[in-house]
Symmetry: none
Subunit: 222 residues, 2 copies
DNA sequence: TAAAATTTTTAAGTAAGTCTTAAGAAAGGA
DNA sequence: TCCTTTCTTAAGACTTACTTAAAAATTTTA
């Protein structure tokens, strides 16, 4: 995660840089507004920390210009001024948050984390070797390439991956995926396992879906 | 936009309620933690205003419980305590922002708007391939040429573009665009998707609106 | 206020894709 | 080897989505 600090006081900016680097952020500093805007517009940053008052273009103006191009990137203002009016002005110009100087580094850190927190809900993602299954957007990737699965195929694979490393009995599978309880005499599972192996192009030497004879199947890392 | 206030002091909660209603928010009040959590979990709200200290379950605890279920809904803390430590604690428990009492109503309002911005607020511009959608002036351009869409068509396209890259389930679409909850058995979505594809002249080789069989649709760059 | 135009919804036929069954081939275990 | 279980394929049943037209509702116009 890359953060740009626009701040003219070296004391503050260096302090922040060090602190954020320790938190494994990648940090750049711009000491004046013109430089700051230019760097911001490069689009290289995931978050902007703007001082309210910097030489050259003001923080507010940077914010406004920047927002025209980048709608999503969060902006946090660092401001010595703590009158309500100006804070509002700042937020109206497109900032997401502001923090008053002097502030505790820990508080700033938390506010940064809040802004960077993943937006679209944490749908669970499962992995199996080179396969990634995302229940949120119903996508399966193999080596980053999208694999098109039908609903049944998807939910079968999901069931297996949720239970990675343990044997899935046929009865459990038929219950969870097909919602058939009590009795069953059908070969659907076999058919679908076959389809999965085919679509995922699982060769013998990378068959993540092992068959456990007489019991069922097991998804397993190699 | 519906807001839930969890606050035990009637003076504050009523003041807020009136102010927010004047800003055309729909506001409910819970006077204690248990009631608050219960109402919050109903899922009817777009934003939560939580007092730090309320009788019964604490604001922090409400926040934590609520986050388990609802990842997206913004939470703002109202707190009399202004020590840094506790603020951090609040943000860590899943809140998006906090404001210290006493506060100016105007500032609270701005913070609320900031939180609601990404969802439905502010006029924003979305792009999808050669298509540009501007919620501000309700315009859709394709290759710079204006496309005339009806209201429903527009809001369907807006919904898809806001969620570009992730699958939009039919239920979500029917909820967001048609405001139909719980049950539905109608083919409107299909009809409107068809209309969109037609009006946007999406050929097979540039169909930005993919159908995800059995699930819904997805706006996607090619 | 009625007529006209537009938008929204319903409905129905068609097309496309998915699911299940069934049956022969292959593989594993006794 | 024989029997059982699993694999593989293909055809038919079924489900879902597409497309069109027309009815219903809403908005605009005269």
């Amino acid at each position: 995660m890359r953060i740009l600090i626009v701040e003219d006081e070296p004391g503050i900016s260096n302090f922040l840089k060090q602190g954020l680097q320790e938190e494994s952020f990648s940090v750049d500093i711009a000491a004046d507004g013109n430089k700051g805007l230019q760097m911001a517009l490069s689009g290289d940053y995931d978050l902007l920390l703007l001082d309210w008052m910097v030489p050259g273009i003001s923080g507010i103006e940077i914010c406004r210009q920047f927002r025209k191009e980048f709608k999503e990137t969060p902006i946090i203002f660092l401001t010595a001024k703590d009158t309500v009016d100006e804070t509002i002005f700042g937020l109206q110009s497109g900032a997401n948050d502001y923090i008053k100087k002097p502030f505790h580094f820990e508080e700033l850190l938390e506010r940064i984390k809040v802004q960077l927190r993943p937006k679209s809900g944490e749908h669970s993602v499962f992995t199996l070797g080179s396969i990634t299954l995302n229940t949120g957007n119903h996508q399966v990737l193999k080596n980053g390439k999208e694999i098109n699965l039908t609903q049944k195929e998807f939910s079968l694979l999901e069931f297996l991956m949720r239970n990675k490393g343990t044997v899935c009995r046929r009865t459990r599978i038929i219950e969870s995926v097909w919602d058939i309880h009590f009795e069953y005499n059908t070969g659907v599972i076999d058919v679908y396992i076959n389809a999965l192996r085919k679509k995922l192009r699982l060769r013998d030497d990378e068959n993540y879906i092992q068959t456990v004879r007489g019991i069922g199947y097991m998804a397993k890392e190699l």
